[in-house]
């Protein structure tokens, strides 16, 4: 049977991608942030996945407002890299896992999660920056990827409860797959940041740390946090953190905290990163 063996949470700041692509990760500004991922690179080399389900949001890179799916799943064999206005990032193409992805999409739809099915998708920094943080600059990504885009850009975004429940349904669906696979689930985005308006630059590190604690220890309560609180306390773009709830829902009741890292700032953002593993229960 396939099994979810780890959950990874990380911010996905676009400037981090530029720093990697231009070889500036050891600059004074960037080094302390990239240092926080050194452990993670070693850990993931020792604890590899066959497939990573990466929960992320597109930032008007592939989806415009023509079609705005609330939850979607990429079921293709490969995903090209978006041109976000600076030209596409010079990184390897992202390979999919069509067999597991079709199984997951079908299972989730049958479980009343009305996933939008994507046979074609280009992926943006929301998905590729986490890959760069965890794997550096390989010639080929070491894992296959199932992209799971969530609308966090247009309000109303899906509720926290819905995200957490989706994670639980993903866990069940993975375990029902006829095939032996180690699967990681990644929740990306956040933490506190606001990149618009007179209030831009908002950072709330104590709130971010409390969010991490609650995500680990009390997600059943955390799922009910209203979107308004994310916006007020963690900035208008802090609402991306609902995507971490999907990751957490897929890990079961109790988790081990393998790694935790916080850093302020990367560009406009409070960077947060967790590696969690399910406690067998």
């Amino acid at each position: 049977m396939a099994k979810i063996t780890a959950g990874i949470a990380t911010s996905h700041v676009p400037a981090v991608g530029h720093a990697v692509d231009s070889g500036r990760t050891q600059d004074d500004y960037w080094k302390p942030m990239f240092d926080g991922y050194e452990f993670s690179k070693k850990w993931i080399a020792e604890n590899p996945a066959d497939v990573a389900i990466i929960v992320y949001n597109d930032h008007a890179s592939y989806f415009g407002m023509d079609i705005m799916p609330t939850f979607a799943m990429g079921i293709a064999e490969k995903f090209n890299i978006c041109d976000e206005g600076y030209g596409p990032r010079p990184i390897p193409v992202v390979e999919g896992h069509a067999e597991l992805a079709t199984h997951l999409a079908a299972s989730l739809i049958l479980d009343d999660f009305d996933m939008t099915v994507l046979n074609k998708l280009d992926v943006d920094h929301g998905l590729t920056v986490p890959l760069s943080l965890m794997y550096g600059t390989p010639d080929k990504w070491p894992t296959k990827v199932i992209p799971l885009p969530v609308n966090v850009v247009m309000n109303p975004q899906p509720s926290g409860e819905r995200c957490f429940s989706l994670g639980k349904a993903i866990k069940d669906a993975v375990e029902q797959f006829d095939g032996d696979l180690k699967v990681h689930i990644w929740g990306t985005g956040g933490m506190s940041h606001q990149i618009q308006g007179a209030r831009a630059g908002l950072i709330n590190l104590p709130w971010d740390i409390q969010f991490m604690d609650d995500l680990i220890n009390d997600p059943e309560t955390l799922q009910y946090k209203p979107h308004l609180e994310y916006m007020v306390e963690a900035g208008s773009e802090g609402v991306e953190l609902i995507m971490w709830l999907i990751m957490r829902g897929a890990l079961g009741d109790k988790v081990n905290e393998v790694h935790r890292f916080n850093h302020v700032p990367a560009s406009n953002t409070s960077v947060g990163h967790l590696i969690l593993t399910p406690k067998d229960n």
């Binding site: 930032h59 415009g64 109303p156 831009a200």
Partner: protein, 132 residues
């Protein structure tokens, strides 16, 4: 459940991109999406007015783009991820563009970020700030 968009109106210095704002800004955001190709970026930069006239945007939206008035673009239904295509095409970073919406210049804004960012204290409510 009946949507409650009014709940977002008390957040100071913040424009929440609701489904209603998305409708208002659809053509503006579509124009932004078109800048994802180098060919269109070049055409836009060669004659901005002419390029904008290819879109069914309001005159106010076009003027805001020509003025690079990002706050005004937000007010008229733009969203920052879409608007980023405008400043990315000019080689500007998020920090450079975003700082223009605040009362700081880019150096002051960067210094604030390096010092830990803007504290939410005093920025939670317009009422608290005497703005409403």
């Amino acid at each position: 459940m009946k949507p409650n968009f009014d709940q977002f109106k008390d957040i100071p210095g913040t424009t929440i991109f609701t489904i209603e704002k998305a409708r208002e800004g659809f053509q503006l955001n579509e124009f932004c999406m078109s800048l994802r190709t180098q060919e269109n970026r070049d055409r836009f930069h060669a004659d901005e007015r002419k390029y904008l006239d290819e879109w069914e945007m309001t005159e106010e939206q076009k003027k805001a783009v020509l003025d690079r008035d990002f706050q005004r673009m937000l007010d008229l239904g733009g969203n920052v991820y879409f608007l980023s295509k405008i400043f990315a095409a000019e080689g500007l970073s998020y920090v450079q563009a975003v700082s223009t919406m605040t009362d700081m210049n880019v150096q002051e804004y960067q210094a604030m970020m390096l010092a830990g960012g803007r504290s939410p204290d005093g920025w939670r409510s317009k009422k608290e700030r005497g703005e409403a």
